[in-house]
Structure formats: structure tokens, C-alpha cells
């Protein structure tokens, strides 16, 4: 019959005698590490959302006591009324948690760890112990960042981009030790990403199973590979910058202090030299996983596989030479602005290629609207809006009025929520049965998708209008400005939509948690997918395979004419298939 049956005897053959602590706490199993990242980052996603709700309360109802705000200390919200100093902590920490401790670890920490070995037919990562340290280093970073919410003077106050000198000088920001804790936490997180990236790159290069050539890699693995290269090269820059900032804060150095020969713009160059590749770290894995899901849901090979790979590589390369578009208004030489405008415009091209190829994949397909597919289509539809709004700010003259306004807030949320988070909702639902052996509830998954799509757009689309009107970011009380007073009803509308959006996410949280125990038992290969991970038991045992599987074809052979079914797993041997050469490196 199929390759699934052939692989079945391998299932459960592994005897696992590790203690509970080695198995679930200080685990070196890439799957457990991925799941550890999953629970921790979902917690931070929830926390980041809670902070966002407080921001929205203040913007929708400035100066009114926040329901439940009474539990906050006097220094943050006396009588539930948010103070300006607490508000800037909220915007700082919302951005920080979402970017560094929710989206990035969800995409990379969870899925690079979980998927890479399973999808390339490896037993584990190349360096399992380094992998364990990668998780615990991120965990320590998260703990430090979380703790910074509770120290005197509260958390960091200079925005998630931490522009010096505001971030460096407590006398100017009013911040306390929370500001230093931010820097320390980021250094720990940087260490985690560097260790992780090293591992992903090494594993993909060396540990592919026989027959898994570069151009038979699923696009999720390609995307995670390019992401890992970006991470390996970008995170050291952030860590270095964070260490400089820490020295500035505690040792009194003057890297960013012009009065003593320092340079204010140095921070921005360092931060965005990291920060723009980071933007692609936050979207490429989503693009890769969406490619897998769209092909599966369309029951068709991915359209233009090679174009998709080259587009990923192109984004990975161009991502390094666009950082200055964050600095068009910074006082940087305007001629540099011209250069960065051109590179930024050009990076729209590989993104467009990807969107058209996803559409090409759906064209003449036999679409299955399972929950992962719905979220993948949602990703494409919303990412397009975020990508197109990027063209406005790439054009330097147009950036002048919209820079640092809600137009940018809308853009980043269309990319990070509409893009990355929809991809994650799809990916989590898709690989949930592989991770936990149970399915998430289909009906509640669909309800969650439609409510999220609706309230996401009601929340973030009007922000474009606010930004066109000139509404600045990170202002505590827009009604201070006469020209913003007429926009207050819109701010209130956005706030109500945001509350509904947050409430809709509780459906996902409940579905995720309750399905762990009460979800329908997952059949083998529930989505009728071609990936190697589905040839194993769900969840797969420690070490994954007794004998490495053999790969005979690319990952997207859906509706192939050779077989009756509309899918053809990578490891299923047809009579016409020849045995491939040995593994690239005998690393097993």
C-alpha cells in the first residue's frame, strides 16, 4: 500500500528510559524543546495582548479609569487611570514582548526546532545540548523581561526600538532598573537565537536523509534556513548594541552621548542593521509554512517552487541593505535616503513573486478549507495589504507625512498580525496533531478564524486613516491636539474592535488547551500531507526514526498522475523510483 504502512513498524519501537526531568525539562529532544518554546511564547503572546488592551483603553477613553485597573499600583494607574509614565512602559513592553518573546520564538523557536529534523528525516538537531541551552537562555531572557514589569519605576520606557539617548539616560526617561533589565534580557535572547541559528543551519546542511536534496526541501525548511542565516548574522549586532547600551546605563560610557564625543544615530544604525533582517526573521518562516499549507490545501504542487526559493534567498539578501528606510527622517544624509529607497522598493519584487505563486498554487486546485488552509489564505490576503502599505513609506517624500504615525502602526500590524500570526494560527493547527496526537476542534477553529479576520481588519484598517490625518505614535493622549480631536470617535471604535479581537483569541487559547486532553485522537497523516513528519506516530518518539527514511521526490507531489490518491508522500517508493545516493554526511 502506501509509504505510511511501510513506515508503521518503526513506530513505537523506541524504548525511552530518560527521567522525567531529562525528558520534559532539560530535554535535548528537538520536539520537546519546540513544545517548550510553544507554551512559553504563547504565554508572552497573551501578556503582550493584555498590554495592548491597556494601550487601547487609554487611547479610546483617555483619562477614564480602566475597568479592573484598580489592581495596578498607584505609580502606574492611580484609581485605574493610566499615567503617562505607565503608558510609555505599556507601548515599550507590548512591542518588546510581541517581537522578541512571542512572534520570533513562535516562528523560529517552535517551528525551526520542531519541523527541521522531522522534515529532513534527521534523528534530532546536529547539537542537541546546544539546542537545550538555546531554549533555557531564551527562557532566562523572558524571565528577566517579565521581572522588569515589577521593579521600582517599572519596565523600560523608550519604546521597543530603545532609541538612545532616551534609553541610556534615566534622568531623561524617568526609568529605573527596568531599563537595564531590558538590555540584559535582550543579550540573553540574542545568545539563544545565535545558538539556535547555528544549530538549524548545521542540521539542514549536514543531517538531511538520503534523497533529501536541496531542491526537495519543503519551502518551510528553506524559509527556516534563510531565517537562521539572518538570525546568526543579525542577532550578534543587536546583542553588541544592547551591551553598549548597558555600559552606557551602568558604567557611564558615552557611545551615544554627543556631549562627550558620542553619536546619537549610532544606536539607530546598529539597531536597524539588526532590525530590518529581524523583520524578515518575523515573516519568512510564516511564508514557508504557508507555502506548505497552501499546497496541501489546494491539493496541487506549489506553483514555481524554484521561484519561491529564489525569492526567499532574494529577500534574505536584500533584507541587509534596507535598514536606512527606518531613518529617512533621522537626519541621516538625504542621499543615503535615496539609496535605501531604491533597495526598499526592490524588495517588494520577491514578495510579489511569492504572493502570485501562492495564487498560482490555488489556481485550478481542489481546495480543502481546513482550518490551517483558511488561516493560510488569510495570511496571503492580509500580508498583501501590509506589503502594499509598505510602498507608501518606502517612497521617501510620502514617508515624510506618515513616518512615526499610525499609518506605520497599521502597516506593522498587517505584516506581523495579519501576516505572521495568521501563519502561526495555521501552522499551530496544522502540526498540533503531530505534536500532541490530537486534533484541535475544527468548528471552533473556523469560528476563531472568521472572528479574527473581521476584528483584525476593524482594528487595524482605520489606523491608516488616523495616520493620514497625522496621528503620531506613542502619544498618551491624542485629545491634547486640536487636529486629532475629531478622530477620537475613530480611536474609540478601534478600541472596541481591539477588545473584540482580544476576546476572539480566547477561543483559540481554549481550543488549544482543551484539545490537549479532549481533542479528537489524530489519525496518521490527518491532512493527507506529503511531509516526512507524517510517516511517524503522532507524537513521534524520541529520536524520530529507527532507520532514516529515504526520500524519492519533492514535497509537493499532490494530484500526481502516477497514483490514485491526490497526494504522494516524499518517502513512498513507487516501482519506477531509484534508490538515491547516500546521505550528504553520515551524521546519524
Amino acid at each position: 500500500m502506501s509509504g505510511i504502512a511501510a513506515a508503521a513498524p518503526a513506530v513505537h519501537a523506541h524504548h525511552d528510559d530518560r527521567s522525567f526531568i531529562r525528558k520534559y525539562i532539560f530535554s535535548t529532544d528537538h520536539k520537546i524543546i519546540g513544545i517548550q518554546f510553544l507554551f512559553v511564547s504563547l504565554f508572552f503572546l497573551f501578556l503582550g495582548g493584555l498590554l495592548a488592551m491597556q494601550i487601547r483603553w487609554q487611547l479610546g477613553y483617555p483619562g477614564r479609569p480602566m475597568p479592573g485597573g484598580g489592581i495596578l499600583p498607584e505609580t502606574m494607574a492611580p484609581g485605574g487611570v493610566i499615567l503617562p509614565e505607565y503608558y510609555i512602559q505599556l507601548v515599550t513592553m507590548h512591542g518588546t514582548f510581541m517581537v522578541f518573546f512571542a512572534i520570533m520564538p513562535l516562528l523560529v523557536g517552535v517551528f525551526a526546532n520542531y519541523l527541521i529534523p522531522l522534515k529532513i528525516g534527521a534523528h534530532d538537531m546536529a547539537f542537541p545540548r546546544i539546542n537545550m541551552w538555546s531554549f533555557w537562555s531564551a527562557f532566562a531572557g523572558g524571565l528577566v523581561m517579565f521581572a522588569s514589569l515589577f521593579v521600582p519605576e517599572g519596565a523600560a520606557r523608550a519604546g521597543w526600538t530603545m532609541y538612545a539617548p532616551l534609553s541610556a539616560r534615566h534622568d531623561l526617561s524617568g526609568a529605573g532598573v527596568g531599563q537595564e533589565l531590558w538590555s540584559i534580557s535582550i543579550v540573553l535572547l540574542g545568545l539563544s537565537s545565535i545558538l539556535g541559528s547555528l544549530n538549524y543551519i548545521t542540521t539542514i546542511i549536514n543531517n538531511r536523509t538520503p534523497g533529501m536534496t536541496w531542491f526537495r526541501l519543503p519551502l518551510s525548511v528553506w524559509a527556516l534556513f534563510i531565517t537562521a542565516i539572518l538570525g546568526l548574522l543579525a542577532l550578534p549586532v543587536l546583542s553588541g548594541a544592547a551591551i553598549m547600551l548597558l555600559f552606557e546605563q551602568i558604567l557611564g560610557t558615552h557611545f551615544f552621548d554627543p556631549a562627550a564625543g558620542g553619536q546619537v544615530l549610532l544606536w539607530q544604525h546598529l539597531f536597524w542593521f539588526f532590525g530590518h533582517p529581524e523583520v524578515y526573521i518575523l515573516i519568512l518562516p510564516g511564508m514557508g509554512m504557508v507555502s506548505d499549507i497552501v499546497a496541501n490545501g489546494s491539493r496541487k504542487p506549489i506553483f514555481g517552487y524554484h521561484s519561491m526559493v529564489f525569492a526567499l534567498v532574494g529577500i534574505g539578501f536584500l533584507g541587509w541593505i534596507v535598514w536606512g528606510h527606518h531613518m529617512f527622517m533621522s537626519g541621516m544624509n538625504p542621499t543615503l535616503g535615496s539609496t535605501f529607497m531604491v533597495t526598499t522598493m526592490v524588495i517588494a519584487v520577491p514578495s510579489a513573486i511569492k504572493v502570485f505563486n501562492w495564487m498560482g498554487t490555488m489556481w485550478r486546485g481542489n481546495l480543502r478549507f481546513h482550518v490551517p488552509m483558511l488561516n493560510a489564505i488569510g495570511f496571503v490576503a492580509m500580508f498583501v495589504i501590509g506589503g502594499l502599505s509598505g510602498v507608501f513609506m518606502a517612497a521617501t517624500p510620502v514617508d515624510m507625512p506618515i513616518h512615526d504615525t499610525y499609518f506605520i502602526v497599521a502597516h506593522i500590524h498587517y505584516v506581523l498580525f495579519g501576516g505572521s500570526l495568521f501563519a502561526l494560527f495555521g501552522a499551530i493547527t496544522f502540526w498540533y496533531p503531530n505534536m500532541f496526537g490530537r486534533m484541535m476542534n475544527e468548528r471552533w477553529g473556523k469560528i476563531h478564524f472568521w472572528l479574527t479576520l473581521l476584528f483584525f481588519n476593524l482594528t487595524f484598517f482605520p489606523m491608516h486613516i488616523l495616520g493620514m490625518g497625522g496621528h503620531m505614535r506613542r502619544i498618551y493622549d491624542p485629545t491634547q491636539y486640536d487636529f486629532l480631536k475629531p478622530y477620537q470617535p475613530m480611536n474609540t471604535f478601534i478600541t472596541l474592535s481591539a477588545f473584540a479581537l482580544f476576546a476572539s483569541q480566547l477561543i483559540f487559547a481554549l481550543n488549544f488547551l482543551l484539545s490537549l486532553k479532549w481533542g479528537k485522537k489524530a489519525p496518521l497523516n490527518p491532512w493527507e500531507d506529503n511531509g516526512l513528519e507524517w510517516t511517524l506516530a503522532t507524537p513521534p518518539p524520541h529520536g524520530n526514526w529507527d532507520r532514516p527514511p529515504t526520500v524519492y521526490r519533492g514535497p509537493y507531489e499532490y494530484s500526481a498522475p502516477q497514483v490514485a490518491e491526490d497526494y504522494l508522500p516524499q518517502s513512498r517508493k513507487l516501482p519506477t523510483d531509484r534508490e538515491p545516493a547516500a546521505a550528504p554526511v553520515a551524521g546519524h
Binding site: 532616551l166 496541487k300 496571503v380 517612497a395 506613542r474
Partner: protein, 223 residues
């Protein structure tokens, strides 16, 4: 509430808004193609039992078309944008006859220094007014931006002009106001807990009105 851009109050505001509109149309076309395509495919190719998808791995011609069209479009957009960018923000774009006004930003106020009767900044007849920017209509103005403490950003929506004020740097930016009236100047870069109230009034006067105001201020400042 406006669903569109604010009043066009400077010479380059119509150019910037025109470019905004052009990009809106181009991206609007792309948006409609992609979203209607997606919705159409979702209905047309919805799965039916017992059917398979069309087995194809792609089409080189299609790839070339949808690579080339966006590439040409964005490069053209870049060239057009760069033309205006150089005119507005280029270092040598500042008109030689521009009337200088010094703006020193500090937490959380704008100290605006006027050149006095001699039309020169940095001379004895300069005078400084807090949180009020007065300019004559129809005359080129160059603001000389400095900062006392942290990064601030000079932002006047009706002028479409935004420029950071950075400690340690002296940054010049020019504009010519075209519509007399009272507007607002805000800080667009997070500069601390008072960021939200770092606000100034902008007065665009007729030439005669401005001269009278400046004269009166110079008298007051000189005494």
C-alpha cells in the same frame, strides 16, 4: 474628521499628496487583483470529492511577467519619488534666500528663535518664543533644528514636513507655507513621559501681519 489627508499648507504638500495618490492607485490595482483573485479562486476551485487538482509545477512565462511588472513599477516609483525627495530634503535644496528660524527642542517644549530685524540667526537682535512658530506666508523658511536632550521630531501635518531634531546635530529643513491660518506642531518621536504634550502653535501670517508681529516681539525682546 477627515478620511483623507489634511489641508495642503506648503508648496510641496500637493506634490507629496499627488505621489501618495499615485501610489494609492497603483497599490489599489494590485490589491484588487490579488483579493478578487483569491476570492474568485476560493469559490471556483472549492474542493469536490473524487476530483484532483491540476497537476502542474508552474509556468516560466507567468513568473517572468509577475516579476517584471512589479520590478518596473517600483523602480519607476523610486525614480519619481527621488526627484521630489531631492527637491524637498536634499542638502542643496534649501533656497538661498530662505528666512532662518531656529528651533531648539527640549523635554517637552519647542524654543523658537527668530532672527530679528537683521534677518540673521545668532546675532544680538534674535528673540526666542516658547511653543509658538510664526511664519510669513509665501516666503521660503529654513528651520534650523537642534535638541537639548533626546531625539524629538518636528512635525507639522499641514506642511507635510517632518524632521527629527537630534542631540549633537544641527539639521536644516525648508518649507514655504501657502495658506494663512493657525495650525499645530507636534513631536513625532517618543521623547519621554511628556511626549504627548510637546505641542506648539503654528501661525501662518500674511507678510504684513508677520512683520508687525516680529517688530513688536523684537521691541519686547530688546528691552
Amino acid at each position: 474628521m477627515s478620511w483623507w489627508l489634511p489641508l495642503q499648507g506648503s508648496t510641496f504638500a500637493p506634490q507629496i499628496d499627488g505621489l501618495f495618490l499615485a501610489i494609492l492607485i497603483i497599490t489599489g490595482v494590485a490589491f484588487v487583483i490579488v483579493e478578487t483573485g483569491l476570492i474568485w479562486f476560493v469559490f471556483k476551485y472549492r474542493g469536490r470529492p473524487g476530483r484532483k487538482g491540476h497537476y502542474t509545477h508552474g509556468n516560466a512565462k507567468a513568473e517572468v511577467v509577475w516579476t517584471a511588472i512589479p520590478a518596473v513599477t517600483v523602480v519607476a516609483l523610486g525614480l519619481v519619488s527621488n526627484h521630489y525627495w531631492k527637491e524637498i530634503k536634499g542638502r542643496d535644496s534649501i533656497p538661498a534666500d530662505a528666512y532662518p528660524i531656529g528651533i531648539h527642542a527640549k523635554q517637552f517644549e519647542w524654543q523658537v528663535t527668530y532672527p530679528g530685524p537683521d534677518g540673521q540667526l545668532g546675532t544680538a537682535d534674535d528673540f526666542t518664543v516658547r511653543n509658538q512658530l510664526h511664519v510669513p506666508v509665501g516666503r521660503n523658511i529654513v528651520v534650523v533644528l537642534t535638541s537639548e536632550d533626546v531625539i524629538h521630531s518636528f512635525w507639522v501635518p499641514v506642511l507635510r514636513l517632518k524632521q527629527d531634531a537630534v542631540p549633537g546635530l544641527t539639521i536644516r529643513a525648508w518649507f514655504q507655507a501657502t495658506v494663512p491660518g493657525q495650525y499645530e506642531l507636534g513631536c513625532a518621536e517618543l521623547c519621554g513621559m511628556g511626549h504627548y504634550r510637546m505641542r506648539a502653535r503654528v501661525f501662518v501670517h500674511t507678510a504684513a501681519e508677520y512683520d508687525a508681529w516680529a517688530h513688536q516681539q523684537a521691541q519686547g525682546g530688546a528691552s
